[in-house]
Symmetry: C2
Subunit: 380 residues, 2 copies
Amino acid sequence: MIYFDNAATSFPKPDIVYDSIMKAMKEYGANPGRSGHKLALRLSREIYETRELIARLFNIKNPMNLIFTFNCTEGLNIGIKGILERGDHVITTSMEHNSVLRPLKALEKEGVELTIVKGDLAGRIDPTHIKNSIKKNTKLIVTTHVSNLTGTIMPIDEIGQIARENGILYMVDAAQSAGVYHIDVERMNIDILAFPGHKGLLGPQGTGGLYIREGLDIKEIFQGGTGSISHLLEQPDIMPDRYESGTPNGPGIVGLGAGVKYILEVGIDKIRKHEEELTQHFIEEALKIDKVKVYGPLNVKEQGAVVSINIGQEDSSEISYILDQNYDIQVRPGLHCAPMAHKTIGTFQQGVVRFSFGPFNTHEEIESGIKAIKEISEQV
Amino acid sequence: MIYFDNAATSFPKPDIVYDSIMKAMKEYGANPGRSGHKLALRLSREIYETRELIARLFNIKNPMNLIFTFNCTEGLNIGIKGILERGDHVITTSMEHNSVLRPLKALEKEGVELTIVKGDLAGRIDPTHIKNSIKKNTKLIVTTHVSNLTGTIMPIDEIGQIARENGILYMVDAAQSAGVYHIDVERMNIDILAFPGHKGLLGPQGTGGLYIREGLDIKEIFQGGTGSISHLLEQPDIMPDRYESGTPNGPGIVGLGAGVKYILEVGIDKIRKHEEELTQHFIEEALKIDKVKVYGPLNVKEQGAVVSINIGQEDSSEISYILDQNYDIQVRPGLHCAPMAHKTIGTFQQGVVRFSFGPFNTHEEIESGIKAIKEISEQV
């Protein structure tokens, strides 16, 4: 089995992730932040440690400004809907995932003004296009960090700078970058950062997070039990409780902490370098194959570990099916929940076959993938 | 260690739950419903199987009307906020958890009219009080099934009947009952049912669910990638995708399925009978101890496996601390995220020490608990 679908969810996880989840479930699987007995306190402490580890990774000064969510989508919805109100203007890009575009489209129906800046054929966004889209009522800019279709790395430094200079909030979707690329919310002027726990951070599914800059008043979407200020029928406005109603995914967060600890120990630069080498290798070899079209910037300085291809005019699902059935190689075909990005690069009809690499992929696996693509391209 | 905090989260889980989660994570930890390769398809199938198992448990005719959520709180928020609009009237009870009361209080500020029917000193709700609260604009009745404070079993059959007769929607919070008490959404006229995965259903944290009656149009709260109808920027309106944006907790749902399978195999009646015996035993023995006050109906025909007590005027946190430190018995003190329920039974100042039992507790553990209470009550 060769798993090249890490942009959907990373697989496998480091052993320490599996082990720490099981340990949490079996030894102290209580409800954290609620009961105050030793099992609950132990889980609470572990959750706080994960908060600290992630805060360290993203240079978040106060770990309490980091909330845990179910997935990245929840974080994006909280940020987008907690900020924007009727009459506000928001700028985003055509390279976004539906987890950004669908909430924005829903808000557009309620009177939020939306500008979608278009990427080029490699999925690149020109920051000046964003700058030129700013209006008097622009309240928020939201962009992805790395495209889930083309792997294109977005100029979030420049966009953050533009946002800061114009007194506009900047929200980043780190679905494809967290755990692999350096993210510094201070230096990059990121006001809100949403990320999944189960992709680059190597944690389990059912985890994600949202950083909210100190003092930023974002409406919460859910209210409920928080285990704090329980005598009040109003949702507490303290961080992170305001956004963490109900029982959290305790053992999942412990597993996420183990994933982040693994990343910090191995070193994010080493992980990225490995993924860059795999990506470069794959791009170079794929470009040599007749009939194969490779999308994206085709350069690891501009592209994350996501490479989309097509073979001639073949349907992307058909190619992916052959890769899975005949070669035991797992990739993702279709539209990748990013229809506008596909329109941007001209693959809305055909879809693409997406290869996405993770820290546990090897050069041998890349070779096998290339060999499979070559054979298939000769047969179709 | 004696764990009497099952109302917060059940612990331990059946071994099959731990094993199935690990198997899912290690063998097919892909992103379900997305990529179409064999790992993703296997996880999708397992998730569907869990949907079917839960549908069987609650007599839900179409498993696609069951959505998976992060926790019970999310389900309650989706149901409450997806139905109620400014000008609507909603009826609830004073025995609800903050996961019901806080969302309703938030909606009240936005123009939803709220009636809270008060329980008696044992936490009982009189259905005629609900009936008498119905107005022309009453759209929803929402009640818990079993109180998380007193264990009081609510007359959901009668309330469901009243709702049906008056053309009002009925939503049930099964946080303390799912997996232990029979719930039949058809027979009981339940239109919306929210439940946690990690309590009576014996699944892991990070899981929960919401049943929505066929044809009921509830606004979704989040939009995002659904892996379906990906070419559209509008949220799909198909079930369950409309309410399941972003990556689900795949291995968690597999674990939840294992929990439900365990319940169906052992038999819900057997589990309930066991918990009733423990509860009855505990109530009888606790009532014999001087200085101990026991709350709730004190009768297992009216009370689930939740028994709250106090010792004299002692602070509930202090007693719980002694139980944990000196006896290694885990209970939950304080207000249990249910302040109005505490006001109803007169314990808002003192809180209570809550004992809640699960399928793996034993009569010997009950004896140890009683012995500990007796000793503490003699010392304070």
